[in-house]
């Protein structure tokens, strides 16, 4: 997809979006709800009229200007957020629905094969209303994949599932998609889901612009935009002015990687909660801190603390650490910053 713009009335929802889904890869559009992610999928599928730009698949232009191939001729599978299973058809007939060009027996065999892949063979004769959410999701996936589409679009595929179910279905969906080696474009608002599923992530911002694209690790470790950095939860923030190529803080001078930043520029450093490490000695040049509270979340704890000395004396920070934090442990505690989790941006962005 190249140069996609889309507006509803005067509201721009997509702004010069270009993206490519390589064969067999899973690309994930990550962004807040209402940022036009679903619209982009609908444009790709031909369910929404293209307003500007072009859509190409296997080197064939399928939509550009007024020439737009109708959705039924695109061979693009679509899995809807509400699954959109046909309530009047059995599970098997739902999957067969897209196989009408084959003879009945071949179609049936193919449908059963797909149902087998998603583990729904034993429910083939049931009707959608008799299935749980997770089962419906799997049928919808089987139905979308059955006609061997050139591309599959997944619209918030796991949002209607409860948390426990979600992890399992996510794994299974990924397995089935990889097994079928099909190019997939998925949208989600859940960064963890995107990290888990995607080969590549495109982060979409509020104005329908792509803010960053890259592998999951790039998005997490090299967020090029403050917005992207904040996607994964609340951050610690230190504002300051560049001095001698770095930002002075209670945690020492935070080195700035960006060589273009000039002396005296106002910068903001964001530090992930998991990027602050506590220790009982100041061996690594950490800052002495006062622990305010600790909250055990299960696999990790959130610890709130106040810096005791230095430039940021009195400021509050929070960190995330594995396991529980023992508040009864007495003695001075120091905190230091792991530079891999600290990111620098110009201020007033």
């Amino acid at each position: 997809m190249v140069g996609i713009h889309h507006a509803y009335g005067t509201t721009k929802v997509l702004n010069n979006i270009s993206l490519t889904v390589p064969a067999g890869e899973l690309v994930c559009l990550l962004g807040p709800s209402g940022c036009g992610k679903t619209t982009l999928l609908r444009i790709a599928a031909g369910l929404e009229q293209l307003q500007a730009g072009s859509v190409t698949i296997d080197e064939t232009v399928i939509a550009e200007g007024a020439a737009q191939l109708p959705p039924e001729e695109r061979r693009i599978g679509f899995m809807f957020q509400d699954y959109a299973l046909f309530p009047h058809l059995s599970v098997l007939d739902n999957v067969i629905f897209g196989l009408f060009r084959q003879d009945r027996r071949t179609a049936r065999a193919r449908a059963m094969e797909m149902l087998d892949q998603v583990g729904m063979v034993q429910h083939a004769e049931k009707y959608p209303h008799m299935l749980s959410g997770g089962q419906q999701q799997r049928v919808a996936l089987a139905r979308a994949l059955a006609p061997e589409p050139r591309l599959v679009l997944l619209d918030e595929p796991f949002s209607d599932l409860d948390t426990n179910m979600r992890a399992r279905i996510r794994q299974q969906t990924l397995t089935v998609l990889k097994q079928n080696n099909v190019a997939t474009l998925m949208v989600t608002h859940d960064p963890k889901e995107a990290m888990f599923m995607a080969d590549r992530i495109k982060v979409l911002g509020d104005q329908g612009r792509i803010l960053q694209s890259g592998r999951p690790a790039d998005i997490y470790y090299k967020p090029t935009d403050e917005y992207v950095a904040r996607l994964f939860g609340p951050m610690n923030m230190i504002d300051g002015v560049v001095e001698q190529g770095g930002l002075k803080s209670s945690f020492g001078t935070l080195a700035l990687e960006d060589p273009t930043v000039v002396e005296g520029a106002a910068v903001r450093v964001l530090i992930r909660p998991e990027g602050i490490i506590l220790s009982k000695g100041d061996d690594d040049g950490g800052a002495p801190v006062e622990i305010l509270s600790a909250h055990l979340l299960g696999d990790s704890s959130i610890v709130r603390f106040k810096v005791r000395s230095g430039i940021n004396s009195g400021s509050e920070f929070h960190l995330r650490m594995p396991g529980a934090f023992d508040l009864t442990e007495i003695g001075q505690i120091w905190a230091r910053v792991d530079p891999r989790h600290a990111f620098q941006y110009p201020q007033n962005q």
């Binding site: 369910l47 190409t56 109708p70 039924e72 695109r74 046909f86 897209g98």
Partner: protein, 558 residues
């Protein structure tokens, strides 16, 4: 980029839907515009004559009729709706749906029945004379049923269910809390009713009232039988007796102004209705227990309209049908019934097919144009049958003359009348008038199918038509059948258009009953009248079931 281009334009196939919709909308409105056009360009202008003679009479009679029926239906409809939704008294559960029964009774049939039993020679006056020993008309006073007042009474008795239905729905939708808040602020139940409940229900009541008044304007059978000179009768008179088409069209155009006002009120009320639904949460209704005399009064208040509007006339008809049973006549009636069924099935089927096309193209194409086209096509429901009949005659007459002219010029023979005075003309009239019914029903059921169904089917390779065939039609089957049934029933009952447009030597149940009753032979027509009532009961039962299923606390579909 030298990649191959898409084979064809995506919009191309869908445009067929747009064109079809616009053509249908145009066809559905041609009769209305034809009337207005002819009224403005009369061949022989009798307008000054109409103004100086009959027009003011038509206007005042029609206005009085509308005012009377409006007031009557308001009193009965709102009153019983309030009793049934808010109070507990003997028989309430039965009345919840029983109040609807008079809907099955066409006004003209109830008018025939009451005339028969209340006129001088009828059983009531005969019994009174016997009882008091009166010997002649001059010795006592008895209300004349064949009068404006009689017409108001007849129409009120069969039309109040429209107000009842919408008032009841409005009362149910109101949060009980609002009413209780009013009472806790020191207002008594009566003052709370007038200052809170009634104003909140007003938009719904106005919709019901507009429908009642549209039906009042549409009525032909009653006013014809009672010789009450309303517009419907005037149009008929100028057309048939004075043989002046332009005059009829001019009267019809004035009548359209009345209609425009009603449509406007209805639309306005519907817009406001949305803001009046204060709470989507249902609470159990308070259910004021009415005991003793008050309970009995409530029961009687609800029972009377049902008895008078349905039970009594039905019993009378049953008795007549039994007394006057005649195998010969029954065979004749069966023939007319078959005509009625044929016409109604034809109109019902076409109306629904057309509605599916229109509703579906609006769904897949979207956009203002199609939305407006659909609303315009549905305009006919507000236009009185007499007006539409004139319009259909004008359009088909011109069409016939046109074809005839071409045939004579080019092939040297006359085709005569092809459409005028045929079943096609009647069916066309029915379609224009009842398209709104089928369109509304189909749109409603199509609206319940989530749009992602369309997307799922299309992305699985099915085109727009196949999607409709394999996804939508199976899903909206119930709605489609309801739509066919609704149009069917209304066609069976329809009188004014059928009278004007029916082919020579062709009668339906309705026109047969009308003719016989006009000749004071209601007894012979009782069986036919009963059949019409019987058919009319079907949608009432359907509606009743919906009401019975929807209890406060559950969101009911009404």
């Amino acid at each position: 980029m030298n990649a191959p281009r898409p084979r064809r334009r995506g919009g191309h196939w869908l445009d067929g839907w747009t064109v079809a919709t616009i053509v249908i909308a145009a066809l559905a409105t041609v009769p209305i515009f034809a009337v207005i056009y002819l009224a403005l360009t009369p061949s022989e202008n009798i307008w000054p004559h109409l103004v100086s003679t009959v027009l003011s009479g038509y206007i005042s009679t029609t206005l009085i009729l509308m005012a009377g029926v409006g007031l009557g239906t308001l009193l009965i409809g709102v009153g019983t709706a309030w009793l049934v939704t808010m109070c507990r008294f003997p028989g309430r559960r039965l009345f919840e749906w029983g109040m609807l029964l008079p809907m099955a009774m066409p006004a003209y049939i109830i008018a025939y029945v009451y005339t028969d039993i209340l006129e001088y020679a009828g059983p009531v006056q005969a019994a009174l004379r016997e009882l008091f020993g009166w010997s002649g008309k001059q010795e006592y006073w008895f209300p004349e049923i064949r009068s404006l007042g009689g017409a108001i009474a007849m129409m009120t008795l069969v039309l109040y269910p429209y107000v009842y239905l919408l008032a009841r729905a409005s009362f149910l939708e109101q949060s009980v809390g609002v009413f209780e808040a009013s009472r806790s602020l020191g207002r008594g139940p009566w003052r709370s009713f007038f200052s809170v409940a009634l104003p909140l229900a007003r938009p719904g009541i106005v919709i019901g009232l507009s429908l009642v008044l549209m039906e009042t304007l549409n009525d032909f059978g009653t006013v014809d039988f009672f010789a009450v000179n309303t517009f419907s009768l005037g149009i008929f008179d100028v057309w048939m007796n004075m043989n002046n088409v332009s005059g009829a069209a001019q009267l019809a155009t004035v009548m359209l102004l009345f209609v425009a006002f009603l449509v406007f009120s209805e639309r306005y009320a519907r817009r406001r209705q949305r803001f009046h639904n204060t709470s989507s949460k249902f609470q159990a209704l308070p259910g004021f227990q009415l005991v003793g005399g008050r309970g009995l009064a409530a029961t009687i208040a609800c029972l009377a309209p049902v008895l008078l509007g349905f039970v009594l006339p039905t019993l009378v008809l049953l008795r007549y049908a039994h007394q006057h049973f005649d195998p010969e006549l029954s065979r004749e009636i069966l023939g007319h019934a078959l005509n009625s069924v044929k016409l109604s099935v034809l109109a019902g089927t076409i109306a629904v097919l057309v509605a599916i096309i229109m509703a579906y193209s609006a769904r897949i194409k979207g956009g203002k144009v199609l939305m407006v086209a659909n609303r315009v096509a549905a305009m006919g429901y507000a236009v009185p049958g007499a007006v539409l009949a004139v319009g259909v005659m004008i359009v088909l007459g011109n069409l016939d003359n046109g074809i005839d002219g071409i045939a004579r010029e080019n092939f040297g023979f006359s085709t005569g009348l092809i459409f005028s005075g045929t079943i096609a003309a009647v069916t066309f009239g029915y379609l224009v008038r009842f398209l709104a019914l089928s369109l509304g029903t189909v749109e409603a059921s199509l609206g319940k199918v989530t749009p992602s169904m369309d997307g799922a089917s299309r992305s699985l390779g099915r085109g727009a038509f196949a999607t409709m065939q394999f996804v939508h039609l199976p899903l909206i089957k119930g709605g489609v059948l309801t739509a066919v049934m609704l149009v069917f029933v209304d066609c069976m009952k329809e009188l004014p258009m059928t009278v004007i447009l029916q082919p020579f030597n062709f009668q339906t149940l309705a026109t047969f009953v009308h003719q016989y009753a006009s000749d004071e032979q209601l007894g012979d027509a009782a069986l036919a009248a009963l059949s019409i009532v019987g058919v009319g009961v079907v949608p009432v039962i359907l509606l009743s079931l919906t009401i019975a299923k929807s209890r406060p606390g559950h969101k009911g579909g009404e």
